[in-house]
Symmetry: C2
Subunit: 334 residues, 2 copies
């Protein structure tokens, strides 16, 4: 692609992002210093190469997914955030009172407010959590709460009604054994070590050891199951206001996918990708009519993904700039 073609593509993408109207040749004469006929010729070539599309034979051009991609990779310069927005975000990041999940939740709310796109955070316990401590709190009526706490301070609890044949004492004793033997164990390994190392030990000391084992086993199982302990969405209905979807059905299709079961899987960053990634149209594997820009974070024993979903005609420069900033803040050493 020669220089003039690049300028042309850039001009078309940026004009379309701004106005949502197919871009005609005449409107670009001044910017490119040539006549509309010349521009039409170049446009035809760009269209043939797959960077541009037409709605109908005599309409202006709009960028294709390929066009957007070329723009994002070669022509766009991520925009610096303005001072006001930086300030708003700083207030959140610097609030030491907040837990990580609250921080990111507020974060996505602000993102969707700033950008007018839908924004989502998926949080999960990181795999680098190690077991710190388990304990038991007895309640009334033969009920207990079993607690697991990791070295990053993530706590999960589960309630049980225990048979009368099990004493609190036996449970506490088992806790002590687990804490002594498994403290520091990566949380993903705890379940199997519980079965193969702890179970034999308590078998010699506790009568109802099977039932006791079950309680702790279930607790850890629950912990592992609830890896996605946090999913927060903000600005869902912004898509409704996007002028891109003349056809209401398209928006409904997208919105209904938000409720879908494997929605999370499609948003979650699958590889260990660093930085900010842009997925356009079909690349999203979510819906051909949207763009998803996402980034991941790792902090305080939690991993997560922050994603922004908008029309393919996304304000790429601004959005990538914003998400880059947030990524850098979140992954800073604590």
């Amino acid at each position: 692609m020669n220089h003039r073609q690049e300028s042309l593509l850039k001009a078309i993408v940026e004009s379309y992002i701004k106005t949502v109207k197919p871009v005609g040749s005449k409107s670009l004469c001044k910017k490119l210093n040539c006549s509309s006929a010349t521009i039409r010729n170049e446009m035809a070539r760009l269209e043939e190469a797959g960077y541009l599309e037409k709605n109908h034979i005599s309409s202006g051009r709009i960028p294709s997914s390929k066009g957007y991609r070329y723009y994002v990779e070669n022509l766009m310069k991520p925009k610096e955030m303005n001072g006001e927005d930086v300030l708003k975000l700083q207030q959140i990041f610097q609030n030491q009172e907040l837990q990580l999940s609250d921080t990111v939740n507020k974060c996505v709310e602000i993102i969707s407010e700033m950008t007018n796109y839908t924004s989502i955070v998926l949080g999960k316990k990181s795999l680098d959590n190690n077991l710190q401590q388990v304990s038991i709190i007895p309640l009334n009526n033969n009920r207990i709460v079993a607690l697991v706490c990791t070295d990053h301070g993530i706590v999960q609890n589960k309630q049980f009604t225990i048979p009368k044949t099990i004493s609190i004492d036996e449970l506490s004793k088992t806790c002590d054994i687990i804490n002594k033997m498994l403290s520091g164990t990566p949380i993903i390994n705890v379940a199997s070590r519980l079965e193969f190392e702890i179970k034999p030990v308590i078998a010699t000391k506790i009568k109802q050891y099977e039932a006791v084992y079950e309680i702790f086993s279930k607790t850890f199982h629950d912990f592992a199951k609830n890896v996605h302990d946090n999913m927060h969405m903000s600005g869902t209905n912004h898509l409704l206001n996007a002028p891109d979807y003349g056809n209401l059905e398209d928006v409904k299709t997208i919105l209904s996918k938000f409720d879908d079961e494997n929605f999370i899987k499609k948003i979650e960053s699958n590889e260990n990708e660093e930085g900010v990634k842009v997925y356009i149209g079909d690349e999203t594997e979510f819906d051909p009519n949207v763009t998803i820009i996402k980034t991941s974070f790792h902090r305080n024993g939690e991993d997560g993904t922050i994603a922004i979903i908008g029309p393919r005609r996304m304000e790429y420069a601004k959005t990538v700039g914003l998400l880059t900033y947030i990524h850098d803040q979140l992954n800073k050493e604590d």
Copy 2:
């Protein structure tokens, strides 16, 4: 209102609920055994009394909010649920593995699927929770987790970085004191008793008692603040498919209110109302174009509200029947 007028109103409401089309006089002749002219006369009277409305001078009639209300209170008979739906719900209610919050969350998902309305659950810790136990788990790098557990087994934790001047020992000692003195205290009273009874006691035993007090005070404060620990919505976009809103703007207005800050306040059951309550149009104080049907539950130390939001043209009989069933199941003795 005489008997024929009641039959007429009932017929109009039920026809409109079914077809979403203004109801004309001719279509009701057979059902009421009289001519269209007679029906028109009655219609005119019902309209004057405020039970019916017209879109324009020569269109059929649609029920007004007052009409719906009369229908709900006097003419409607809540529908029994069909066996299939009962079965689906039973599977959830009888799953002992689930925590209350998971039960209700699944519940609203099924509700919105069955009814095609938006459904919401708001959960909060009940005021009848009493303090069971506080404890401390030390982590690395001078960090700790402080835990609060109530007699219903509700647990909340908060992480702190403690100054080096405070020892774990002092924190544990304070835990013991709190547990001895305040165990069984209603959770709403804990904060003040902590200040006026515990603080003086530890002041005599612990050097940095102010800082230690702060830690527990903040923990309880957080607990009290996070009363709304669970809000779950399902089927938000069902409203988009409702044929009621010819005007897309109306739906957008409603949907945007879901994101509003005091949305929760408007949904929450404010009085201690028992049973299933219906709020139509303006009565909702949320949006004049919707109906909200809600009920509350109290169980295992948690209170909550389940609400169904749909168009004013709601399938009242079916929805009230469904919610009545759920209310009865949830408030059953455990």
